[in-house]
């Protein structure tokens, strides 16, 4: 459950970081691939070496989806409907991996923001990413 203040904080962060969406997204992915090598199995068709064009463009795609979802958290089911179908029926990613990515996105934000990534902001972001992941996995079965 996100409070009004938490929702505003989340929108503010994603909006502020949109100019570096590709960098943030790519770094979160790279952290996930490095700490959890099993996650690389879903990307065997891409070049996911550091700073690769694929990594940057894929990172940007994920970041922008997270940013878009944050604008209307109450309606994540509607916003994410196409992505739900895609992840469930085509990508068929083991849903526990969403948690690993969420953790690495939070580490990335922590590195980027330093002390400005306060415990309260961390809590809000963790809740948002959990909600996003849960909705993303809704159609799996």
């Amino acid at each position: 459950m996100l409070s009004k203040q938490e929702k505003e904080l989340i929108i503010e962060i994603w909006t502020r970081l949109t100019p570096v969406a590709d960098r943030i997204g790519a770094e979160a992915l790279l952290r996930m691939f490095t700490s959890y090598p099993g996650t690389k199995t879903y990307f065997s068709h891409l070049d996911i070496t550091p700073r690769s064009a694929h990594l940057l463009s894929h990172g940007q795609k994920i970041f922008l989806a997270l940013a878009e979802g944050s604008k209307d958290i109450a309606n994540l089911m509607t916003t994410l409907a196409p992505l739900q179908t895609y992840h469930a029926y085509q990508l068929r990613i083991q849903p526990s991996n969403f948690k690993l990515f969420s953790h690495c996105m939070i580490v990335t934000l922590a590195c980027f923001m330093g002390d400005r990534f306060t415990p309260s902001l961390h809590a809000a972001m963790d809740k948002y990413l959990s909600a996003f992941s849960a909705v993303l996995g809704e159609k799996f079965r």
Binding site: C111, P119, A123
Partner: protein, 147 residues
Amino acid sequence: MVEWTEFERDTIKDIFSKIDYDVVGPAALTRCLVVYPWTRRYFGNFGALYNAEGIMGNEMVANHGKKVLHGLDRAVKNMDHIKESYCELSQLHSDQFHVDPDNFRLLADCLAIAIATQWGSAFTPDIQAAFQKFLSVVVFSLGSQYH
């Protein structure tokens, strides 16, 4: 037995030689109590932990955070025998404190994030991976004597 690369051994020693225990310990425990509120159940005698402000200003939380971080020293000094090093502490957390061992994983994640906020880009993906591998061994060891 866990196999460590030279990079991983050096990274763990480096991290623990550089971090300020008095800052990182409290920061990690504070984050855990704020982000995962159910963990407050284990600290009923610490006073008012109702909100982030209360937790962040709580001296008992800060002191306990330092204690917990120092609890990792034995693993740093004894990386080839981490499980054995934590037998007693594992029993304690199981039989006396009754802590759900899945919470160790949450605290470990918060510790990684606390260091990330301090180090910024110096907390590289490779360093994060080594640190998380180390923490996962400690977490496993702390849960190993539960029955």
